[in-house]
Structure formats: C-alpha cells, structure tokens
C-alpha cells in the first residue's frame, strides 16, 4: 500500500484538526507526500468534524472521497462516512462508544479512564492503534509526538502506546526513499512568503479563512520583529496598513469577502496615494456571511473591480503551498516596486489545507528594493516619471517633506482640481500597469500541466490546482492555470492555449467567473464544471464530472 487516505472524525472540539496534522507528519516520516483536507462546521464545540489525510509517493494537492482507513471517535464518524468506505477499507474505532460491524475495535474510552488520561488523548490512542494497524514503528510515532505535542507528552505517549499494543497489524505501508518534506498549511506558506518578501507589519481582524495567517504570524512575530496588530474592524485594518506603508514598513492585511467589503474604500485610497499594501483575500461561500468555514472561488470579479475609481492593481491566485509562498513574496516586491495594492486570492481550501512543501520547486525570489529618492532637488512624493513610478522616501528624512493625499494632487502631494493636472496624474498612475505587465513576462504567470499537445484543456485557477492537474495527467488532457489576473498576461495565456480546441473550465463558484473573464479577451470556454456547495472538488468527483 503506497497511495491511501486516512479519515479521522469526531465532534468539533475533539482535537481532530491537530490529530490530522500529527498523522500527516507520521506518514511524512516514511517519505510520503501529504495533503490534508479539513472539514468543520462554524461552531466551537459539537457538530461533526473530519479531516482526510491523503498520502502518495507523488506530490498531491487534493483529497479522494474513497477512504482506506477510517478512524472513528464517535458513532457519526461511522454513520456519516459510509459512502466513503468500501470492503477493503480498514475501520479503527473506539469500541467503548462506537458500534461497528467490522474493523478493529479498541476500548479507547475505557483505556482513557484506566490511565487517568484526558478525553482529548483519545486521539493519541487511536493514532497509536492506527500506527500498529498499518505497520508503522513505535519509534516513528514517538518522534512525531515529541515534536508536535507540547502538553502532557508522557501521558499522551503512554496512551498512544497502549492503543498501539492493543491493535493488530492489518497491512504494512511501504517505506519510501523520498526526502522527508515539511507539511505546512497554505496559511503558513503565505505567512512565510510574506516574510520572505520583507513583511514588517501584519494587520488583520479575525475572519475565516484568513485567521490562520494572523494566528501564525502573531506566534512568530518576535522571531522576525514583526508588528502584528488586530484592530477594531477591517476599515481600521486597511487604514492602519496605509499608515505603516507611509512610514516605510512593508505591510499586509488578511480577510475574507465580508471584511474586504469594508476595506475597499481604503483599497482605492492605496491606489490614489500610491501606498503599497498586500491583501490576502481568503474566499468563502457568500453572498454575505454565507458558509463561514467552507470554501469557494467567488471573489475573482470582486478582486478585479473592488474600490471606486480606475487604478492599477496586482492580483495573483496561487494554487498550492509552494505557489502561495512564492506569490506572497512576489506580491510584496511588486506592490512596493510599483506602489500599488496587491491582492492574493486564496480560499479555505488553500489556507487551511496542509501540503508537503518542497522548496526546490520554488523559483528564486530576490528581495527587491523599491525605487528610492536620489536626493536631487526638492523631494516630490508624486514626481511624474516615464514609467509612473515616483521615488520613495520615508519620514523622518531630513531633506524631504512627504505629503500623501486621497484627493487628486500635484507632484508635491497638495490637493488640486486642475483639469490638466488631473489627467496627468491619472495617466501617471495607470501607466504603471503597462510596466508591471512587462515585468510579469519574466515570471511564470500562466502554467501548463498534463499532456502538453492535447487538444482538450482543463482551465482552472487557484486551489483547484490539486484535482485539476492530477485528473488532467491521468486522463491525458492539457491543464492550464492562469495565476496572475491583473494586469492580465494575455500573451502568455494565449501561448498556453496554442493547439487547444476544446476548453473545459473548472471552478468553485456558481457562475464561472474565470470562464467569463477569458471571454472578455475573446476566448470561449466550451464547458463549465462548477461546484458551489462549499466543498472543494475531490479527485474522484472531478474525474467523474469530466
């Protein structure tokens, strides 16, 4: 067995999420490539929660509906996932509280009582049992536990070993000779990418699915001297970000659609005042509050058009952890180089999914200094230049007076209503788009996978990378992923489409926003496969729909 999925389920608050990380790390030690899908309701305690840990010799970024190993901590875990298991699946369950007609029953409830362990340690017990059942050694289990669990480690280990001893070996997972890769969530990859891009301050109001970035950065703030602030609301978030930007600190904000609605006035201001800011827009199903803890891709149009007025913006939609890292760093560089707002479109699937992270797949990222003032003549914050980029300097520079303005302004930053100057300054800001697009030609803004000469192509964006690439490769289709949406690298996109006669567009939304987007450029999509139930495509589901 070397390609399999483990599902662990229980009540919200049972520690399912943490357990799935531990399971992922254990399998990762055997050289597997991991992807973890997390499904949980918007409640603190109670409600059904589950995670699927998929393991494969190859890099993966999607889950399967078919489960090989089911770890059941309550009856729902058996009853609700019947359709996912088959005759060959192994079920491991807590026989103290769960009835199952097959599989390995471990009296976990009784063991917890006997060992005077905590209820939460039922997870450790079932993980121990799983290790035995699939032939993983105690040493590996212990190594990962010691790394991942900080509280009551000895009791946790004792409980896990007891589960291990009480179970029997059912099969043996192959040990692979691959390099062991770290397993990180999309949120962690984004966070580290931002730091790579020079992040100094992160401002955010909690909102799923972006809170993970806030929590992670707050936790490592001291290591990097980051200023991590949680203000009163998203309007405050955006305006604080612009204050940091003015003072010269590279800054990012994170939110979801509803919070981004509140940020849009500040977004427009960022463009007018040419104050760079990176925005992590974590999509979730709407309209309005929608399904807070589930996934979707319905903010492409919003990101493209948010904010009043016409202005240059950068938008990228990474598809997995490596791309999330790369484009978070790049967005920071580009936002500062062109002094524009940059939006990273992510979603619950990407942010909260966990991936084996392979640094070797990431192209080199160089920290780029923005254009700084050369100290010649009087400083003008909005000096009109050929490419529209004005040299920067920050307070407190002795020789410069730095005036930024939300009104239309002259080069010095003083308000104007002059007709000619209005045109000059608007042109200056819009002109940056052209130069930004030129620079983007150096980067991989559109990716192609699968059978490169196939006449049928799957077109997708963002977190659908996992299922689309894997299914495309399996079915011998071409697979095309535009990553940058503004300014849109049309030349690269048309290049990718060469030889394609039929386009199937796969999206997690109800209307097909990418399909409509490319139509604007005269490219017609033949078929739209849309899913908008809040859940991502699984590999088998997408294959069936194709």
């Amino acid at each position: 067995m070397n390609n399999f999925s483990i599902l662990i389920a229980g009540k919200a608050g049972d520690g399912i999420d943490k357990s799935s990380s531990v399971i992922g790390h254990i399998l990762s030690q055997l050289g597997y490539r991991i992807y973890i899908y997390r499904d949980y309701p918007s409640v603190i305690r109670g409600g059904h929660t589950f995670s699927i840990v998929r393991c494969s010799p190859d890099k993966i970024a999607t889950h399967l509906n078919t489960i090989d190993i089911l770890l059941a901590l309550n009856q729902d875990s058996i009853d609700l996932h019947k359709s996912r298991v088959n005759d060959k699946s192994l079920v491991i369950y807590d026989s103290t509280s769960v009835k199952s007609d097959r599989g390995i029953g471990i009296p976990i409830g009784a063991i917890i009582k006997e060992l005077e362990a905590l209820d939460l340690m039922r997870n450790s017990c079932i993980i121990g049992a799983m290790c035995k059942a699939i032939g993983i050694e105690k040493d590996t289990l212990e190594k990962v536990f010691r790394k991942d669990i900080s509280k009551e480690i000895e009791l946790n280990l004792k409980t896990a070993f007891r589960g291990f001893d009480d179970a029997k070996e059912f099969t043996k997972v192959e040990k692979l000779k691959h390099k062991i890769l770290p397993v990180v969530t999309g949120s962690e990859a984004i966070s580290l990418g931002l730091i790579k891009g020079g992040l100094k301050a992160y401002i955010s109001y909690p909102m799923t699915p972006s809170s993970g970035i806030l929590h992670y950065l707050a936790g490592i703030a001291e290591d990097f001297s980051l200023k991590v602030i949680h203000p009163e609301n998203e309007i405050g978030v955006m305006l604080m970000a612009l204050g940091f930007s003015y003072a010269g600190d590279r800054v990012a904000v994170g939110t979801s659609g509803g919070g981004f609605c509140l940020m849009t006035e500040g977004l427009s201001f960022s463009a007018m005042a040419e104050l760079p800011v990176v925005i992590l827009l974590g999509q979730r199903p709407g309209p309005s509050t929608g399904l807070p803890t589930y996934t979707c891709q319905s903010e492409l149009n919003f990101a493209l058009s948010a904010g009043h007025g016409e202005f240059t913006r950068f938008i990228a939609a990474p598809g997995d952890a490596e791309e999330a890292y790369y484009w978070s760093a790049m967005s920071m560089n580009l936002a500062w180089k062109y002094q524009v707002p940059a939006i990273i479109l992510c979603d619950k699937t990407l942010n909260e999914g966990a991936y084996s992270f392979d640094e070797d797949l990431i192209r080199e990222i160089k920290y780029q200094e923005p254009l700084l003032w050369g100290r010649v003549g009087e400083y003008k914050r909005y000096q009109n230049t050929e490419n529209g980029i004005s040299p920067l300097v920050f307070p407190s520079d002795k020789e410069a007076i730095i005036k930024v303005n939300s009104y239309e302004h002259d080069e010095f930053g003083v308000t104007t209503e002059d007709q000619n100057l209005t045109i000059t300054m608007q042109d200056k800001r819009l002109r940056k788009s052209k130069y930004l697009l030129e620079e983007l030609e150096q980067y991989e803004t559109v990716k192609v996978y699968g059978k490169k000469d196939a006449s049928t192509a799957i077109l997708f964006w963002g977190s659908n990378k996992g299922p689309c690439v894997e299914v495309g490769e399996k079915l011998g289709l071409k697979v095309i992923q535009p990553i940058v949406f503004s300014p849109f690298p049309l030349k690269q996109f048309k290049e990718a489409l060469k030889g394609v006669k039929k386009i199937i567009c796969v999206e997690n939304n109800a209307t097909g926003q990418l399909a409509d987007f490319v139509k604007f450029y005269g490219i017609n999509v033949d078929k739209r496969i849309l899913k908008y139930d809040g859940r991502p495509f699984s590999l088998d589901e997408l294959e069936q729909k194709l």
Partner: protein, 280 residues
C-alpha cells in the same frame, strides 16, 4: 518664535472668519516653537480626514497624510507604531471622527497610543453644506433635518473619559492663547490626547457670540482626579446652555500601546528554514 516658516504654496480656501484659521495659526505657532526648541521638523507628521478641517494638511509644510473621511485615527496609530520617534498629530472634524470614524477614536483611547488628536468641532457639516453632526444640539435645523433633529448630541469628552483617554481637553477658536497652551501640552503628553476645539463655522453655524458668553477657563482643577474630571466634563453636555469650561479636564499617564518587539538583526531566510524544518 516666528523664524520657522511652515506655510505652503497652497491657496487657503476657508471662508473669511472661519474658526479653522485659529487652529492653523495656533498649531503653526506651537510647532514653530517646538522646532526652535530643537525638535526636528522632519519628525512631525500631521494627518487629516475629509472636510473643511482637513485642508490643514495642504497648508502646513510638514510631512502629511491627507486621509479619508473618518479615518484619521487608525492612520495616526499606525504611523506612530511603525516609527515611535515621530510626533503624530491628527486633525479631524466632528462629523469625521465623532461620526464616521468613532470606533477608531474609542479604540485609540483604549489602547493609549501616543498620538494627539485635535477635533475641529464646529458641530455642523461645512463642506457638504450644512447638515447636523453628532454634537449638534437637539432641534438643530440642517439641510438633512429641516424640521430640527430629534436626537441629543453626544458629549465626546465624557465618551473619551470612559474609553480610557489619558488626556482630555477643550479650547475654542476664539482664544488662541489658550489654544496654543493646550495644543502644546497635548502634544507633549505621552499617550493618547484629545483636544476638542469649539471651532466656529461662520457660514453654517455661527456660534461666536454664544460661546463668548459662556466659556471660562478651568482654574484650580486637578486633572488627575477622574471623578472631578467627570463632573467638569458633564457640566456642559453640548446641548444645555450652561457655562462651558475650557482647558485640560483630565490628564493621567499610563502605559502606552506599542508593538512589543524591538527591531533586531535577524537572518529571516535562516529562520524560515528553521520553521520549515520543524514541520518536517
């Protein structure tokens, strides 16, 4: 004073007789003195919102951030947190920051960020041509309330006191000497300071005579005493016709909000690698 020229080339477009001139001239005088006393001019940043008051950003030749309506306070906070060496002074209107941006004001006071907020409180929307604001008195007839408002004003000073502001004061645009004194004290205060300036809009709500009859300067008042400050703050509720006290109502130093982590030299790349290795 008088040796420091803080004027810009921007044409002043306030109405003749506008109370904003007193604020502009007072702050220029205070900043001029500070600069002459050795405070570096380049370390001053002023922030303004949107409204007549906000034009002050164009009129003073120092670093400035001409923000959005209601959004003076979060910008001030961020600039100060990004660079604690800066002296950050925010100018805001009453509609601007007691209305549109009130939440920010409350939180900045609560956090005690070391910034100074000056409210041009003319109790009317000037630039949008005469509507009621959060501090207009009951029955105020504005263009959006032609029959008069049916709501009482808020007392912003009482609100600030209960929000944790560590410096609360009031001046008027008809009394530059006192205004200069208050501005200087507010700017030098370590922590969040608020100056509510009863600034007269000659065009839409001319209160010069009304204020002149009622204002008096606080004397023998101990601003460190919360209860005494509260009593003095409650004397005039922005609605009744009582006497109106001017000066510093409350002043108490307490720890200021700052980002706890001092800048240190770090090898970010190495630390990123270390964090990733922890996940392997």
């Amino acid at each position: 004073m008088g040796n420091v020229n803080l004027a810009t080339y921007a044409k002043n477009t306030w109405c003749p007789g506008c109370g904003n001139f007193a604020i502009l001239n007072s702050i220029k005088a205070v900043l001029g003195v500070l600069i002459e006393e050795g405070f570096p001019k380049e370390k001053i940043v002023i922030v303004s919102g949107i409204g007549c008051h906000a034009k002050i950003a164009d009129y003073i030749n120092v670093n400035s951030f001409y923000s959005l309506h209601g959004r003076v306070v979060p910008v001030c906070e961020a600039i100060k947190l990004a660079n604690p060496d800066l002296k950050v002074i925010g100018f805001a209107g009453d509609g601007d920051t007691y209305g549109e941006g009130l939440e920010h004001l409350i939180f900045a006071a609560k956090r005690n960020v070391d910034i100074n907020i000056i409210i041009h409180n003319n109790r009317v929307y000037g630039l949008t041509t005469g509507q009621y604001t959060p501090t207009s008195p009951l029955g105020f007839k504005g263009r959006s309330t032609p029959k008069g408002t049916t709501e009482y004003p808020i007392n912003p000073l009482e609100l600030m006191l209960s929000s944790g502001a560590s410096f609360i004061s009031r001046g008027t645009s008809h009394g530059m000497e006192l205004l200069k004194k208050i501005f200087k004290e507010a700017i030098m205060h370590k922590g969040f300071s608020l100056v509510d300036v009863l600034q007269v809009c000659v065009t839409y709500y001319n209160m010069y005579e009304y204020y002149d009859k009622r204002v008096y300067e606080l004397e023998g008042h101990d601003p460190a005493e919360y209860n005494k400050a509260l009593a003095k703050i409650r004397e005039w509720d922005y609605n009744n016709d009582s006497k109106i006290a001017l000066g510093v109502f409350y002043k108490k130093e307490r720890p200021v909000f700052e980002c706890a982590f001092k800048d240190k030299k770090i090898d970010a790349d190495a630390k990123i690698k270390e964090l990733l290795n922890d996940r392997a």
